[in-house]
Amino acid sequence: MKTKEIILGYLGIRLKNILSKLSDSAFEKIEEIRFRVNRPLIILKGGESFFIRGDGHFSRNIKQAFIINQKDLVDTLQMMGEYSLYAFEEEIRNGYITLPGGHRVGLVGKVVMENGNLKTMRYIGGMNIRISHEVIGCANKIIPYIINGKNIYHTLIISPPKCGKTTLLRDLIRQISNGISDNFIGLAVGVVDERSEIAGCYQGIPQNDVGIRTDVLDCCPKVEGMRMLLRSMSPDVIAVDEIGKVEDIYAIEDVINGGVKLICTVHGSSILDIQRKPVLKELIQKKIFERMILLNYKNGPGSIEDIIDGTTLKSLI
């Protein structure tokens, strides 16, 4: 299904009507759609933000901007919760819902507490739909640096937000899992998809192409997930998104001691930046990662800044 069809299916009637006026190709280029009550609808596309006019055209003039009202968000939330918000209590507590296809919807509003714990969110005031882009082949340039004979190197992808690290990780997984040539016929990949962003699972089935030898643990916390995969699915490679917590290190060590290769991503803009973070510093000092890939936004999402050998810390390109 096209991205446009999926997203439109989860909007309230007024938002659906206005966004359905956008063409399919315009929709594919959108990175984020932001709804804020009593403020204009904003679309982020190619790193720039646009308003949308009543006739469905992009505009930079705020006077022509389409304004969101409270009911729009209430209706949209109902649709996103498939008319069953009671089934999404856990997701709302975490502040986001994942739509089929791996599009993540962030929520803000009035938080309700109970006994010191976050109970739920009432009166949703804003939403951010992050459109997940499946770019088949975006890892082509990186793959040769990662392959080591019949196996791969432990790899860390370092990227600032919105530079396409999850997209890159997904394509890496797909290529490693499918195999590339007769010399590299593909490895069993286990994915711990804590936020359903990599595989975009819907009812446990990956909606994005993550390769033929890939097993996905959907919505599972990373630490438990990595250990579960290690025990149960005997993977050759384990892939996770956004590491950085102290517990993550122990799970990573378990994976590496188990003889399994690891691919992870992390937020950051340079090696120095990463070395400032206590948890990641340790990983780099121990020279756990053999390859580090740095991304930036110079030529749009997914631009490669550098590929670094983790043992010598020297650039490979």
């Binding site: 299916g9 989860y10 909007l11 309230g12 009637i13 659906k16 009507n17 209430v74 209706d75 939330l77 109902q78 649709m79 919760g81 498939e82 008319y83 069953s84 918000l85 009671y86 089934a87 209590e89 739920t120």
Partner: protein, 172 residues
């Protein structure tokens, strides 16, 4: 001879009317009981199974069957189409277009409609309370109807026959 046939027709007709009134009440009772069962199922689906509403609606409808089940099946199907309408709107449309196939009264209809106002967007506890409220109404109504029926069911039937006889005797 013609007089005799006429007399028989009058008695037959009035007996039929008496039985019909009795039957209509019994049909309504049957519908109310089905509705009550449906809501109890729905509550279970939401409370224990945490089934999403569209699926729950369809399952409940299929299990109940009959004309009452149709209301739930239609609403579930409409929700799955992701048209952008709210639960309240979809439920209202479904109730309005299917209620004529049932024997439910206007009051029953209003209760059904008010159920739709709170479906879907509240948390589990509130959903449960809301459905419980409707179930409570149905329970009371069934109880009331049952007592009424025990008292008046035979009355309607015998009144039909006796009324017919009375007219015949008066006219004869």
């Amino acid at each position: 001879m013609i007089k005799l046939i006429g007399a028989l027709l009058i008695i037959g007709g009035s007996t039929f009317i008496g039985f019909l009134i009795d039957k209509l009440e019994r049909y309504r009772m049957n519908d109310l009981k089905n509705l009550q069962r449906a809501l109890i199922f729905l509550k279970g689906e939401i409370d224990y199974m945490i089934t999403p509403l569209p699926v729950a609606m369809e399952q409940v409808g299929n299990r109940i069957g009959d004309n009452i089940g149709q209301i739930f099946i239609y609403a579930g199907k409409q929700m799955m189409k992701k048209t952008g309408y709210t639960v309240t709107e979809i439920w209202k449309e479904s109730v309005n277009s299917h209620i004529d196939n049932t024997y439910l009264s206007k009051e029953d209809k209003n209760i059904l409609l008010s159920l739709g106002n709170a479906l879907g967007y509240l948390d589990k506890e509130m959903q449960k309370n809301n459905i419980d409220l409707s179930i409570l109404y149905l329970k009371e109504e069934i109880k009331r109807l049952d007592m009424h029926h025990q008292k008046n069911g035979r009355l309607y039937r015998s009144l039909g026959i006796l009324g017919g006889l009375l007219i015949v005797i008066l006219l004869y």
